[in-house]
Amino acid sequence: MSKKPTSVYKGPGPKEANVVLTSASTVMNWAQRSSLWPLTFGLACCAIEMISAAAARYDMARFGWEVFRASPRQADLMIVAGTVTNKMAPVVKKLYDQMAEPKWVIAMGSCATCGGIFQTYSVVPGVSHILPVDVYIPGCPPRPEALIHGIMTLQMKIDGQVNFAAQPRRIEPGYRGPNKEEAV
């Protein structure tokens, strides 16, 4: 009668190996920040730098953000690149509302941050008047490296999120408190 062959491997078995202890938030955040899907929302000149950032030299695909979706239902990051005008503002808000949670907004360039050099009758002085913005990237236009730095800052912000907690994730702009008479 021959002996049953014993395995050479002496380490932990399938029930003991590859057990990682961490919080659910860490895993969720890591998943969310590693594959952000931006919405193609180039309005003006900053869009060209955004396209350059997605091109061969400043490749955004190496970070996981090359899947630009045209439909807001499939995107989770809205990069407002360019000037927001009074005529375009309701469209921006509508697109933002159509995006599913979790969603983030980056204001790229001076025009999206504060109106830029166009302080006129038809320009919204900064997209933060209509949307909650997570990261502002200054520049006119910001270099593609600045855009990548901005999105990496957003990644750090996402890493600090707490999921599964019983509180709303964000506050709507214009929220004035439970009694709306506190407004203005």
């Binding site: 302080q119 009758y121 008047h129």
Partner: protein
């Protein structure tokens, strides 16, 4: 060598030598208000009554052939009562390589006939003049705002309109 401004050779003080000026003086002598030149370019101001006739004549005239309307815009002169607005037509002839400018002074509220039958280019350009200045064009197929939102009040390029607008953010 300098930038070639004087392409047609009409220097300062010699605007009468421009062929378009001579042609208009010939056929519409009572319509010309003044003829001037600036920076080597010649322009003539005409009365608003028969502007489209003059434009059609300039387009069809065999020696001039102004078949291309380069630009159509307006200027607001609030300090000139009776001639507050000035419509400016920039004409170009693709065959003779000749440029000419025609100006039409208008009162506040006065309308002028549309040039969109002469050149189709004038369609949107006149809509923009209406949007920015409030000048209406008689006979225009689609007179409504083009650049500002539809409910916008006011005409931005008038001098009394504030730069930052009347609605605060």
């Amino acid at each position: 060598m300098t930038a070639n401004w004087d392409r047609q050779g009409f220097g300062e003080g010699e605007p009468e030598k421009h062929p378009a000026v001579a042609a208009i003086r010939n056929d519409f002598p009572s319509s010309i208000l003044e003829v001037e030149s600036s920076c080597g370019q010649v322009w003539a101001a005409v009365t608003p009554a028969n502007v489209v006739e003059i434009l059609t004549f300039l387009k069809n005239n065999q020696e001039l052939q102004f078949d291309f309307l380069s630009d159509l815009t307006a200027i607001h002169w609030p300090e000139r009562p009776g001639a507050e607005f000035e419509i400016v037509y920039q004409l170009y002839s693709t065959s003779k390589h000749l440029r000419f400018r025609l100006k039409v002074p208008l009162k506040e509220g006065q309308e002028v006939e549309t040039a969109s039958d002469v050149w189709q280019t004038a369609d949107w350009l006149e809509r923009e003049v209406y949007d920015m200045f409030g000048i209406r064009f008689e006979g225009h197929p689609d007179q409504r705002r083009i650049l500002n939102p539809d409910g916008f009040e006011g005409h931005p390029l008038r001098k009394e309109f504030p730069l930052q607008g009347r609605v605060r953010w």
